[in-house]
Symmetry: C2
């Protein structure tokens, strides 16, 4: 293969993101300069925040430029190295973007360039030890501050981040209630991921079910979703409860703004706190999390679920799966 296949951002989205936002292109394989390596992408990571990166607005990362390959985390293999610390054949995590090949270097791009630790598979690296595992770990423990005995409510619970949040909360001695869409996801959360209770927002009255499954209200709400679920949750917060504002996926593909919760006054009455965070801020502390996450995985206390798609041609459609609720666990794609 001598060409570098790419999916370029062609049109900024309004409403649901889809194939029409991207253009397929073929370019020459780039050549790494001194202190850089050439990586062949093997697996791409799909993350809800990607929808935000496509918009032309200031955020914690600059927007993806029109005509540039779509930004994505990846695991790949070094195929050419001009950097003393990397050898051909190394498996690495980097910001590979939607293309076959990327030139990368440590400290460059949001993901930098790191070798996979021994025994760590690409699936592990891009899920429980990657952005979603770290997001769950630092978001829950640092922002949510759960104590043993607390009730922790999680929205988007069957997504990768949500499923880790619930399991880490269980490890910390909390009672965990998850909100997810559809009976399959709910069954998996309860029977496999060990959640104490699950609410199917597609088939149940979320507000009433939160009341039922959180008889002592909730102390931490880890919110990946926003929208009406956030409003329902805010009717049931305990004194000094914490809302971890991780994501607002319900709004990402909306053509017009979705109204916020009409009951923020409940935060005042209950002395509650709602706090946002961005995982990139915690990257300097990633190793402490990775060590603990690996130990929990090894002990069988933390499982990771991967939803693996395949084929370069399916990349844009795979992104959409995140916003239509198709994925169970971490959405990945094997380029093949």
């Amino acid at each position: 293969m001598t060409i570098n296949r790419q999916w370029l951002l062609a049109e900024r989205p309004t409403g649901m993101v889809g194939e029409h936002n991207f253009t397929y292109a073929e370019t020459p394989i780039p050549e790494p300069k001194q202190d850089k390596v050439l990586v062949k992408n093997l697996f791409l990571s799909f993350d809800p925040a990607q929808r935000n990166w496509m918009e032309d607005r200031e955020a914690y990362l600059p927007p993806v430029a029109l005509g540039a390959p779509m930004r994505a985390a990846s695991v790949g293999q070094v195929v050419d190295s001009r950097h003393a610390d990397f050898s051909v054949g190394d498996l690495v995590q980097t910001t590979g973007c939607w293309q076959d090949y990327v030139v990368a270097a440590p400290g460059e791009g949001p993901m930098g360039l790191v070798k996979l630790p021994p025994g760590v598979t690409p699936e592990m690296m891009l899920s429980v030890l990657g952005i979603t595992g770290l997001t769950a770990y630092f978001g829950l423990l640092e922002v949510g501050q759960p104590k043993a005995g607390d009730t922790v409510l999680v929205s988007g619970a069957a997504g990768s981040t949500g499923s880790f949040v619930g399991q880490i909360a269980k490890i910390k001695g909390c009672r965990v209630v998850g909100i997810a869409g559809g009976p399959d996801k709910c069954k998996w959360l309860k029977e496999t991921a060990g959640f104490d209770a699950v609410i199917d927002y597609k088939n149940e009255d979320v507000n009433a079910q939160i009341a039922q499954h959180c008889p002592d209200k909730w102390d931490v709400f880890f919110d990946n979703v926003g929208g009406p679920i956030r409003e329902a949750a805010l009717d049931h917060l305990n004194l000094r409860a914490r809302v971890v504002l991780c994501g607002s996926i319900a709004a990402y593909n909306s053509e017009s703004p979705i109204p916020g919760p009409s009951n923020l006054a409940n935060l005042t009455i209950n002395r509650g706190r709602m706090e946002g965070f961005v995982i990139l801020d915690y990257m300097p502390r990633a190793m402490e999390a990775i060590e603990e996450l690996m130990a929990w995985v090894a002990a069988g206390d933390l499982i990771y679920q991967v939803d693996m798609q395949e084929g370069f041609e399916n990349i844009p459609a795979t992104l959409q799966r995140l916003y239509t609720g198709k994925n169970l666990g971490k959405q990945l794609l094997k380029i093949g």
Copy 2:
């Protein structure tokens, strides 16, 4: 006088509170038992939270019972004492409610029973040294955590709490931008209360004006109002900014829920925090605040503005002034 005039809560409000929610009554003057005192109310305090106390829902204080005198803080004079620490003639602050006479005791009711410190007038006690002064002090300093050089945005700025928030922020070396309704309030804030900039929400585009007057965005937003002003403010928060959720007066008299801000995701992107608080939690620390507030008043750094109405018959109408934006500064009523 041998009767105790009262305004009783007759009907829980839907929509704007008014005279129709209350009934005038006359009852015998109560008699204090051992360790209690009889207080003749002289001045009543009017506070936005009173609207919430009229509703039949769980909150940080129980709802006012139907048929009971409306709850209110007051300053009055002891006219009969069965308590060793209080003498006839003492000026005291207590939860006098809407009536001529109340039986009170230290530690009872939300306001307890405290003597006015020497040299402190009823106007001072019920404004800068009372609930609104303490709310501004602890809400801004403990929840908002302003640092010198920060930009502090205040809604409801010409209300009692808001005007103290802005002035305390100035004392702490912050740049202060206030939002208030109408040219008179804005002029007073700028020329008398020393705000750096003021936005007239009735006559200006709040979102555009925040952008203009907060060129470095805001670090603390002390929000008394909620509604569209909260949403506009959330478009301009700085990294790690704090929203002090003091009140949501825009929603208190609404017949249907007012949508919340559609842009809470800005808290995530900017690692912002939104936190509610209830001043009653800080009452054990009231003396430290009162000492500092008195010193600032004595030094001329902190002014208090009182909007004094008069007459027992005008009590219900005076409450409404808070929600129609008529008051400049602390709303009080002299019973006379």
